[in-house]
């Protein structure tokens, strides 16, 4: 115990050390908090969309619209329209009619505010396959660029998120940032995604893309009618994907790709409505789905009308 008294005079004691450390920590923390604004703090602490109360959702939408106004100089209208009961969205694609013109790709781009360059994100990918083989996608060409399409001897297969009923991407997400809505749409909460890209590894259809950098969208081409879970402008390092134009279909409009197609290749409707177009074609045409052996139950029906 004599040690104690001797040491006190000569060298700093434990008490002094602890005092110094705690003051330093407090100073550091307070400095950190002043640099963050109130909005950033709220965004950081934001809950997952599904867990939010109606009040919280309203506040989040307000904050986001403010943020987009500041960032892009445009007034966005962010909808949080929920799914209607008795609806299960399905998509039909007529391989006999697709000519590989890619107007669906760019129609989607115009509607859904993806990054245009570095990275260029296309939710739809059109594959060119030689006639005679449709299933071995290893023989596909993604970057065909002839003078005119369709090219003789080839057929075209557009692929996008299939909105599976048994989605592997939803199962593997560690934070449940992606889930299946009641009307069958597989959506992403862009503010909850941590960017681990496990879902991209899990998707058998390359339905998901990653915002490898801050999205670059020309301000003039921004679409301001957006849905929180759909085409609102995203941020860097989060995942996004086709949402069957959730902002359109929940209001009863066709998705942008359906309207963009010049040959009427694309069909859309409610699988639970026996009078819908999609039900008619499933019943009357020969439909198949991609990679059905993986049991993902996609809702994207390919068929041949001729």
């Amino acid at each position: 115990m004599e040690d104690n008294n001797n040491k006190d005079n000569k060298s700093p004691t434990r008490r002094d050390f602890i005092k110094l450390m705690s003051m330093g920590t407090l100073a550091g923390l307070s400095l950190g908090s002043t640099s963050c604004s109130q909005m950033d703090m709220e965004e950081f602490l934001q809950k997952r969309f599904v867990e939010m109360s109606a009040e919280e959702k309203k506040r989040v939408i307000q904050r986001l619209e403010e943020k987009y106004l500041k960032k892009y100089g445009k007034q966005f209208h962010i909808s949080t329209q929920a799914a209607e009961p008795g609806v299960l969205w399905g998509y039909g694609l007529d391989i006999a009619r697709c000519i590989g013109c890619r107007r669906c790709v760019y129609g989607c781009v115009a509607e859904n505010n993806p990054s245009r360059v570095s990275p260029q994100l296309h939710w739809i990918r059109v594959l060119r396959l030689k006639k005679g083989s449709l299933i071995n996608l290893e023989n596909s060409e993604h970057y065909y660029n002839p003078e005119t399409v369709p090219e003789p001897g080839f057929q075209y297969l557009p692929v996008q998120c299939q909105h599976c009923d048994n989605p592997p991407c939803v199962r593997v997400c560690p934070v449940k940032a992606t889930w299946k809505e009641p009307d069958g749409l597989v959506v992403v909460d862009y503010n909850w995604c941590i960017g681990c890209r496990y879902c991209i590894a899990a998707c058998p259809y390359k339905g998901r893309v990653f915002n490898w950098a801050e999205p670059k969208i020309p301000t003039a081409e921004l679409n301001t009618e957006v849905h929180y879970l759909g085409n609102r402008p995203r941020m860097k390092n989060c995942v996004d994907k086709c949402t069957f134009c959730i902002q359109r279909v929940r209001q009863g409009r066709y998705p942008a790709c359906v309207e963009a197609c010049p040959t009427g290749t694309r069909k859309f409707g409610n699988l639970l409505d026996p009078n819908s177009e999609i039900r008619y074609l499933i019943e009357n045409k020969r439909v198949f789905r991609l990679k059905e052996d993986l049991n993902t139950e996609p809702k994207f029906y390919y068929f041949f009308s001729a």
Binding site: C101, E147, S276, L281, N284
Partner: protein
């Protein structure tokens, strides 16, 4: 043509008048029903208007006074820009266009129809496609697919009736190859 159901209005001050009017109204309703039955309820296709070239319609502006030459031939004086490539071995102009009234088209049973209903004419030969089009799975639709705000496109909106085969078009650019972005 869209038939409207005529309703009888009651003229209180003329009973005999009322009887006559009711009777004629009943006849007209009867005609309306039978006519719409013949037309198979096609009036529920809210279709776009026919894509006429500017100034070409109404055709009777020129054809009203012209004599009718029903001989199958290649046209030399007018309409020379129309090259028929649509069953041209078996058909020519007056098989579809009504010879007596150029503002109408002609069905196989002789019925005259307006250009706004041209799908009935196409559907005579292209029955499978017609059936799919009516169900909404052939060709293009835009707008709202719920609640009747859907807009159909006429056959001729996409297919030139004289040369219907689609020409190849220039594709939009392919996606940027990922290698080009490396290390950016």
């Amino acid at each position: 043509m869209i038939f409207r159901h005529y309703t009888a209005s009651a003229y209180e001050w003329a009973r005999p008048m009322k009887k006559i009017l009711l009777f004629s109204a009943a006849i007209m309703i009867g005609i309306a029903f039978s006519a719409s039955a013949m037309q198979q309820q096609h009036n529920e296709f809210p279709a776009t208007s026919p894509p006429f070239s500017p100034g070409i319609f109404p055709c009777n502006a020129c054809h009203e006074g012209l004599p009718v030459n029903a001989k199958r031939r290649e046209l030399k004086d007018e309409h020379t820009s129309i090259k028929l490539r649509h069953a041209e071995q078996d058909r020519w102009c007056l098989d579809c266009h009504s010879a007596t009234n150029r503002d109408k088209l002609k069905l196989a049973d002789g019925e005259s129809i307006d250009f706004t209903e041209s799908y009935r004419l196409c559907g005579q030969c292209h029955g499978n496609i017609y059936r799919d089009w009516k169900a909404g799975i052939h060709g293009k639709r835009v707008g709202y697919f719920k609640g009747g705000k859907r807009t159909y496109f006429l056959c001729v909106s996409c297919h030139n009736p004289h040369d219907p085969k689609f020409k190849p078009i220039k594709p939009l650019p392919p996606p940027i190859r990922p290698e080009l972005n490396n290390g950016r």
